[in-house]
């Protein structure tokens, strides 16, 4: 499993890592019982502060997606809800794929579609473009 943290996205690195682990679990890339690298190993691999990894792991443990076993490492714990979510995410991806295809056919460029998605997720539509 490769993780990639971007220091300039305006999002704390531990949140980025949490999202990537959560996404991997929801997409089925990481499965119940899979072991994640230790804090030090992953910090050295990603060249980020060990506190970043520790905070992400601790928050994921709090959310019930990770089990930290002293001296053994961190293990993914996929609960029924996550498995259910995995199915939902896969359905959502198919629907989004159809929608994106439709927008392309209507003449929107990928960059424009991306901006609309980001704007819609981050801020209410009426703020983003008011004519």
């Amino acid at each position: 499993m490769f993780f990639k943290l971007n220091p300039t996205t305006g999002q704390p690195l531990y949140l980025q890592l949490m999202q990537q682990i959560r996404h991997a679990a929801e997409a089925g890339v990481l499965q119940d019982g899979d072991q994640l690298p230790g804090i030090r190993t992953l910090a050295e691999e990603l060249v980020v502060s060990p506190n970043t990894i520790a905070k992400a792991y601790s928050e994921l443990e709090h959310d019930g997606l990770l089990e930290l076993r002293q001296g053994c490492g961190a293990f993914i714990t996929v609960k029924r809800r996550t498995r259910c979510l995995t199915d939902h995410v896969q359905v959502a991806r198919r629907r989004l794929r159809d929608l994106i295809e439709q927008l392309r056919e209507e003449g929107l460029l990928d960059e424009e579609i991306k901006r609309v998605f980001e704007a819609e997720l981050l801020y209410p539509a009426e703020i983003v473009r008011r004519r």
């Binding site: 996205t9 999002q11 030090r40 980020v48 008011r130």
Partner: protein, 297 residues
């Protein structure tokens, strides 16, 4: 595991004649963290570090490092046994060979980690028998870092540790900082390499003209700083945006760019109420935060 600050200063000031190099610095550096100390050349970073280590006497104010008072000779000596310091100009015994230097320095520290020293000696490809005076700037830096990393300190204070290093050397240095931090070593380092700082640091302090302008966690900065670009139907009034969190406003005809340290939601709300046609919000990197903070000062 101690939670007390590893560095704590109160109103620390250093003046040379009428020139104040460091002014009323009140700083708290937490343990188990990588803290970066940023500032332009001449901002007072090295003078601050030297005051912390007892190498320069403060004109005013005081402080502790690892709980030891910086002005007390006995306590200072005790503190320096547990602090590894790499100075800006990397002073070393130029007449000694690399191997001799390592052997000489190791004899002072009972906790010396020969395994770390040997590993770094190989990884840095330092010429064992070469005299220090004939080493390149990068090699001197690597030797100075080796001597600090092998000491098993409680606190590492590094003044411009990446100076003279090539990109491979800088990457290796960052990995070493991460490894040391994973072993519980607190790290306080000054640097001009903002992109690198942004990757590894937990906390950032920005010093300018001897004054501490910013002291915050990088997570906090990433979450709160935003650049908000606005377009209005007609030329906007800057006064409407003089609100909490707004650090700088630039206006050009119907467009406005707001640099905010926090409160982005309220600024967007204000723009909406003023009929903004478009609002674009972008995160701000540490480089821009640094430059804008210095410029404002």
């Amino acid at each position: 595991m101690t939670k007390a600050p590893v560095i704590l200063t109160r109103d620390l000031t250093k003046s040379y004649g009428s020139v104040a190099v460091v002014q009323g610095l009140s700083l708290s550096v937490q343990p188990n963290r990588i803290t970066a100390f940023l500032g332009q050349n001449g901002a007072g970073k090295s003078t601050t570090i030297k005051m912390l280590l007892g190498m320069v006497r403060p004109t005013h104010g005081d402080g502790t490092v690892l709980g030891r008072r910086i002005g007390d000779v006995e306590e200072n000596r005790e503190m320096r046994r547990r602090v590894a310091y790499v100075a800006e100009n990397k002073p070393l015994y130029s007449y000694m060979a690399v191997e001799q230097t390592i052997r000489f320095v190791s004899s002072f520290y009972p906790d010396w980690r020969a395994d770390v020293a040997n590993r770094l000696l190989n990884e840095y490809k330092l010429p064992r028998r070469q005299k220090v005076k004939t080493l390149s700037k990068g090699m001197r830096t690597k030797l100075a870092l080796l001597l600090a990393f092998a000491r098993r300190p409680d606190l590492l204070i590094l003044d411009e540790p990446s100076e003279g290093l090539d990109p491979v050397g800088i990457e290796h240095l960052l990995q070493m900082l991460v490894s040391q931090a994973a072993e519980g070593v607190a790290i306080f380092f000054s640097s001009h390499q903002i992109a690198e700082v942004e990757r590894v640091a937990d906390h950032v302090c920005i010093l300018d003209n001897g004054c501490l302008l910013l002291n915050a966690s990088l997570d906090q900065l990433r979450q709160s700083y935003r650049r908000i670009d606005l377009t209005f139907p007609s030329a906007p009034c800057e006064r409407e945006f003089r609100m909490a969190g707004v650090e700088k406003i630039r206006t050009k005809e119907r467009q406005m760019s707001v640099f905010a340290s926090w409160n982005a939601e309220a600024i967007i709300e204000r723009a909406r109420n003023l009929n903004a046609m478009s609002v674009e919000v972008a995160p701000v990197g540490l480089r821009d935060i640094f430059l804008e903070t210095i410029k404002e000062n």
